[in-house]
């Protein structure tokens, strides 16, 4: 029997029959809390119908199933076990782990009682920031730019925050689209694609500086892309031009607004609802909203402008980036 691989991610020791280069290797010899292993979906007991389930995503308390046609079946149960099965022999390990280490581990972490959010967390000088945003919001591109400025990656795509406000290391991988990779002058031809045929590239630990230690969360930013002005406005003032290429933050959101933003950024609200964990989400989001400030971060449109703007600011100092017109706070919260 092949010895399983050991990892530590989202606050759990993991034993896996799949190689998972996205996760931090663990040297621990203690029993793993989470097992990832191949299973047979035909052996899985059927679930009670749930209003939260879809044909692709089946949910029950402490039970999460995903059926991706042409890729495979996945099941997370009891916060301890993640099973996977290929659709057929053409499906690669990379295909399986793409969904196992994101949605699968996220489901397990929710079952284990963690607050799991759509976001990317980075560390600098022992403190963490969390960038919240839905897929395609620009989190990974911004994170890559921050790594060039001395930050370390704690987790991308999904972030688990403990009740003590500690961010657990998770996915040590950034996925960049072709256009972003080219603009950032990465040698994309040398990078593996996220999955075969996709023009989306995976940057793994060897290309990244990662943080393997849990880190206290200092600030949360909700990403907003600056919208281009319509043609009818006269933007000739130099100050306005400067504003368009600057990174800006809003004032600290009220606790109520912060709570709503955190709930909206839950790692798949449907999964929380379907696994009967919505009350848990609410309590944890409320606790986080009380203890960690949340600002909107308005990012210049365009990757070059974003990268340039980062050189001029310190994300640990949101006040230094605050907008001149405070009235824009409400705009910024209008996601």
């Amino acid at each position: 029997m092949i010895k399983p691989h050991r990892y530590c991610a989202l606050g759990a020791e993991i034993s896996s029959d799949l190689v998972l280069p996205e996760l931090t290797v663990s040297e621990s010899t203690s029993n793993a809390l989470v097992q990832i292993q191949q299973g047979d979906h035909r052996q899985w007991p059927s679930l009670e119908p749930s209003p939260h389930s879809t044909p692709i995503l089946q949910l029950a308390p402490q039970d999460w199933r995903l059926e991706l046609e042409g890729i495979g079946w996945f099941r997370a149960t009891g916060g301890e076990r993640l099973e996977w099965q290929r659709w057929d022999d053409s499906v690669s390990d990379r295909d399986i782990r793409t969904f196992a280490v994101t949605s699968g581990l996220g489901a397990l972490a929710i079952q284990r009682g963690a607050l799991v959010l759509h976001g990317t967390a980075l560390e600098r000088e022992g403190e963490a920031i969390l960038l919240l945003g839905h897929p395609a919001a620009g989190k990974s591109t911004l994170a890559w730019c921050l790594l060039q400025e001395g930050w370390h990656l704690l987790s991308s795509e999904l972030v688990a925050v403990g009740s003590d406000g500690i961010v657990q290391p998770g996915m040590h991988q950034l996925k960049l689209w072709y256009d972003a990779a080219v603009t950032l002058e990465l040698d994309y031809a040398q990078l593996p694609t996220v999955r075969k045929g996709l023009k989306r590239y995976a940057l793994l630990t060897e290309e990244l500086t990662c943080m393997p230690q849990p880190t206290p969360l200092r600030l949360i930013y909700a990403l907003n892309r600056a919208k281009e002005k319509s043609g009818k406005e006269d933007d000739t003032e130099a100050e306005d031009e400067k504003e368009k290429i600057s990174l800006k933050t809003s004032r600290n959101f009220s606790q109520t607004t912060a709570l709503m933003r955190l709930r909206n950024q839950a790692f798949h609200a449907r999964m929380y609802r379907g696994m009967d964990a919505e009350a848990q989400l609410f309590m944890q989001a409320a606790a986080l909203a009380r203890t960690v400030p949340l600002h909107a971060l308005i990012v210049p449109d365009g990757i070059k402008a974003m990268a340039e703007s980062l050189k001029k600011v310190d994300l640990m100092q949101p006040e230094s980036m605050q907008q001149r017109k405070e009235s824009k706070e409400e705009d910024a919260s209008n996601d």
Partner: protein
Amino acid sequence: MTDDHSYWYLASYPKSGNTWCRVFITELMRLAGDNPGEELNLNQDIETGAIASSRLWLDDQLGINSCDLSFSELDPMRGRAGASAWLFAEGERFHKVHDAFKSPDSRGRPVVSTTGCSGVVYILRHPEDVAVSLSHFFSWPLDRCVDSLLDPSAALVSGERFGGHQVRQYMGRWDQHVRSWADQTQLPVLIMRYEDMLSKGSEIFTELATFLGLPTDSKLIDQALENTSIDRLKKLEDNVDGFAEKPAGCERFFRSGRTGEGAEQLSIKQRKRLANGLSEAMNRFQYEGPGLD
């Protein structure tokens, strides 16, 4: 939640009157409500339902990041993404769709969920006028718009090199798009021509309200039509300092709404190309071209 979980699609090729239709529905419901106070706010009130291609909605239904799927994996899944009566929030029951009913990647399946769906309103407009409207919306030259209407692989958000808030929406040629919805048999369909919505508003919008199970009181219909005339919509767009659905670079979303602009602005050559390529569907829906040699 109420017991009414029914939902509809408002399907169209882009720039064919879909938004006007959504605004009308919203206004009709507002006027029929208990407290039809102030006038409509375009950026707050016309949340009739998510666009069926919304990545956020799809990701929520699928429980994954859909950016990790290829088009040929995603399109067959889209129709199964939300096949439950609970998939849409209360009050958000009218969903805009610009996709063709099926895509070359969808393995013969619809790209939208049909389970629990009450029907589809398909809105079509003279392809010459669509070309002119596309030109203003996307800031494209007219030739490119004509090419797009004749392109069997035409799609919105078709790039494979970046993510986006919406997934790729395959449309195909204009006539393929029309036929895909008009001839499908899985959903009841009401076909409305934009030109008739303009020229026979009361009659056509009463048919729409009847089809959707909305109030059909003629006074309400006429008032909603008056409140959503192109001049009123232009004013409402000014009120909100730019409609949220307007792309960057496009001066205004609600521009002219007229029919016949294509015949005025396209060259004879461009009009003949459209008429040659789309003749069958144009004839079927009584759209005249320039007269072919």
